[in-house]
C-alpha cells in the first residue's frame, strides 16, 4: 500500500508549468487564427449547413449530370496523364544535367567530380528546387491568369511542379544504382548518352518507373484540387456546385473523387508490384 503522501504525481509541478508555458505560447496563435468554434453552431449557419448536407442524400444521378460527371472525371485523368508526360520530358534532361553519375571528371577522382563541374550542376539543382517548392496550386493559379481558365493551366502546372520532383528523384536514382557498368563504358570512350542508355538505364529503369507511377497517382489528386482555382476537371465542377449550394451534386462528385483515388491507388500498386 502506498502512503497517502506518496500518491501524488511527483512530476505534477513540471507538467503544470509546461502546460502553462504552452498555453502562453499558443495565445497569440489563437488570436491570429481567429479560431471561433461557436460560428459552427450559430443557428443561421446550422440551418444553412443542415439544408446543404441534407441535400447530400440521394446523390445527384440524373442523366445529364452523370454525363457531365463522366466528362469531368475523364478530363481530370487526362490532365494528370498529359501533365506527367510533359513533366517526364522536362525532367529527363534536367536529371541528366543535375546528376553526378555521368561525370567524366569523377572517373579519375574516385567518384568525386571536380569543383567546377559541381558548380556547373548547382544552377540546375536550384532550378529543380524552385520548380518543386512552389506548390502546384500556385503554379495553376499563375497559369490560369496567363493562359486562361481550363485544363491547359492544370497540365502546365503539373508539368512544372512534377518536373522538379521527378528531376530530383531521377538524379538521385542515377547516383544510387551500381555505377560500374557506366564507368566502364565511359572509360572505354563511349559518349555519355550511350553510357547512360546502355550502362545506367537498365539498372535504374525499374525504380524510375515505379516512382513515376506513384507520382501519377499524386497528380490525379493534385489535378482535382487544382480545379478549385479554375484549372479544369472534377475540382472545377465541385467548386461550381459548392458555390451553388447543390448538395446532391457535391455528394456524387465527392463519391466519384473517392472512387477515382481508390482505383488509381490500386492500379499504381499493381504496376509498381510488377515493375520492382
Amino acid at each position: 500500500m502506498l502512503k497517502p503522501a506518496q500518491r501524488r504525481d511527483p512530476a505534477a509541478l513540471p507538467r503544470l508549468l509546461l502546460t502553462l508555458l504552452a498555453l502562453a505560447l499558443l495565445w497569440p496563435g489563437l488570436q491570429l487564427s481567429e479560431l471561433n468554434l461557436a460560428v459552427l453552431v450559430a443557428p443561421d449557419n446550422l440551418r444553412n449547413m443542415g439544408q446543404f448536407v441534407g441535400g447530400f442524400w440521394p446523390p445527384a444521378h440524373d442523366r445529364d449530370f452523370l454525363e457531365l460527371l463522366a466528362q469531368a472525371t475523364l478530363q481530370t485523368l487526362a490532365i494528370a496523364t498529359a501533365g506527367m508526360a510533359l513533366a517526364w520530358l522536362l525532367a529527363m534532361p534536367l536529371a541528366l544535367l543535375a546528376s553526378r553519375a555521368l561525370s567524366i571528371s569523377a572517373l579519375a577522382r574516385g567518384g568525386k567530380p571536380a569543383w567546377w563541374a559541381q558548380a556547373l550542376r548547382w544552377p540546375v539543382r536550384g532550378l529543380l528546387i524552385v520548380l518543386r517548392s512552389v506548390p502546384e496550386i500556385v503554379w495553376a493559379l499563375l497559369f490560369v491568369r496567363a493562359v486562361g481558365l481550363g485544363p491547359t493551366a492544370g497540365v502546365l502546372a503539373i508539368a512544372i511542379t512534377y518536373a522538379g520532383m521527378l528531376g530530383k528523384v531521377y538524379a538521385e536514382i542515377f547516383e544510387s544504382v551500381d555505377l560500374r557498368p557506366t564507368r566502364a563504358l565511359l572509360l572505354a570512350g563511349s559518349p555519355r548518352l550511350a553510357a547512360f542508355a546502355y550502362g545506367l538505364l537498365p539498372n535504374a529503369a525499374g525504380e524510375m518507373l515505379s516512382y513515376s507511377v506513384y507520382r501519377w497517382e499524386c497528380a490525379i489528386r493534385a489535378s482535382v484540387v487544382m480545379g478549385f482555382v479554375g484549372a479544369g476537371g472534377l475540382g472545377q465542377q465541385i467548386d461550381l456546385s459548392l458555390r451553388m449550394f447543390a448538395g446532391a451534386e457535391v455528394a456524387s462528385m465527392l463519391l466519384t473523387f473517392l472512387l477515382l483515388v481508390l482505383l488509381a491507388d490500386s492500379l499504381s500498386r499493381w504496376l509498381r508490384g510488377r515493375l520492382t
Binding site: 499558443l26 487564427s33 475523364l74 490532365i79 493559379l141 484540387v225 449550394f245
Partner: protein, 260 residues
C-alpha cells in the same frame, strides 16, 4: 548465345501507356504549339515581367509577415485541435470500446482523411465564413482523420501490460491510461503530430485560394487585382516558408531522431 527473353506483358504496358498519353492530349485538345506561336509568347512574357522586381516596400513586407504568421498560427492551432480530436477518436478506433464503436470511428476517420484539405476549406468557408478560422477548421478536420488513424495504430502496438497492472492494483481506467499507456506512446504521438504540422504549414499557405486566410488569400487577392509585383513578394514569402520548414525539419530529424 541465348537471346534475352522478351516479356510480352511489359510491352503491352508500354503500349497502354503510349495510348493513354496520346488519348489524354487529344481529349484535352491541348494546343501547346499555339502557346509558342503568334503573340501569345509576348503576352506571357509581359505577364511574367510584371512580377519583376518584387515589391519590397515596408508596408507590404509588414502585411506579408503578418500573413506568414497567420499561416503558421492556422497550421499550429489546426494541428493541435486535430491531435486532441484524433486522440479522442483513436481510443475507440483502437478497439477499446468494442467492435461496433471501432468500425464506426474507423469509418469516420477514413472519411475525414479522404477529402483533401482544400475541399474541406471550401466547405468551411461556406459554413464559417471567410478568413483564417475556416482554414484552421479545415486543417483540423483533415488532420484529425490522418492523426486519428496513426494514433490508433500506435495505441494498438503499445504493450498493454503497464496499464493492466495499474488496473489490477485498483486504479481507474483514466489513471491507468494516463500513467500506464500514455508515457509509452507519447514520443510517437508527438513525432506524428510534428510531422503533420510540417505538412500543414505547406498546406495552410495555399488554403487561402478558396478564401481561408493566410498567405494564400493575399496571393489570390493581389493576382485578382493584377498587382503582380505584390504577388511576387507573397510567392517569395511562401517559398521561404516552405524551404525554411524543410531545412528545420531535416535538421531536427537528424539531431533528435535516432536510427534504430
Amino acid at each position: 548465345m541465348k537471346r534475352p527473353r522478351v516479356n510480352l506483358g511489359n510491352w503491352l504496358i508500354l503500349l497502354g501507356l503510349l495510348i493513354a498519353v496520346s488519348a489524354s492530349f487529344s481529349y484535352l485538345n491541348l494546343d501547346l504549339a499555339a502557346l509558342l506561336q503568334g503573340d501569345s509568347p509576348t503576352q506571357m512574357a509581359r505577364f511574367a515581367q510584371g512580377f519583376l522586381p518584387p515589391d519590397l516596400s515596408a508596408p507590404l513586407l509588414q502585411q506579408v509577415a503578418r500573413g506568414a504568421l497567420e499561416t503558421l498560427a492556422m497550421s499550429a492551432i489546426g494541428t493541435l485541435l486535430a491531435a486532441l480530436l484524433g486522440l479522442l477518436l483513436a481510443l475507440p478506433a483502437a478497439g477499446r470500446f468494442g467492435g461496433l464503436a471501432q468500425s464506426l470511428t474507423r469509418f469516420i476517420l477514413n472519411a475525414l482523411r479522404a477529402i483533401p484539405e482544400l475541399v474541406w476549406a471550401a466547405l468551411m468557408v461556406l459554413a464559417a465564413g471567410l478568413g483564417p478560422n475556416a482554414g484552421t477548421l479545415a486543417l483540423a478536420l483533415h488532420t484529425t482523420g490522418v492523426l486519428g488513424r496513426l494514433f490508433a495504430e500506435a495505441l494498438e502496438n503499445t504493450p498493454a501490460e503497464p496499464a493492466e497492472a495499474l488496473r489490477l492494483s485498483g486504479s481507474s481506467r483514466l489513471t491507468a491510461f494516463c500513467y500506464g499507456t500514455l508515457p509509452g506512446v507519447w514520443p510517437q504521438l508527438l513525432a506524428y503530430g510534428l510531422y503533420r504540422w510540417e505538412n500543414n504549414i505547406r498546406m495552410a499557405s495555399v488554403l487561402g485560394f478558396v478564401g481561408a486566410g493566410g498567405l494564400g488569400q493575399m496571393l489570390y487577392v493581389s493576382l485578382s487585382l493584377f498587382q503582380q509585383a505584390q504577388a511576387a513578394t507573397v510567392i517569395l514569402a511562401m517559398l521561404i516558408l516552405v524551404l525554411g520548414v524543410d531545412v528545420l525539419s531535416n535538421w531536427a530529424r537528424q539531431r533528435w531522431v535516432q536510427v534504430h
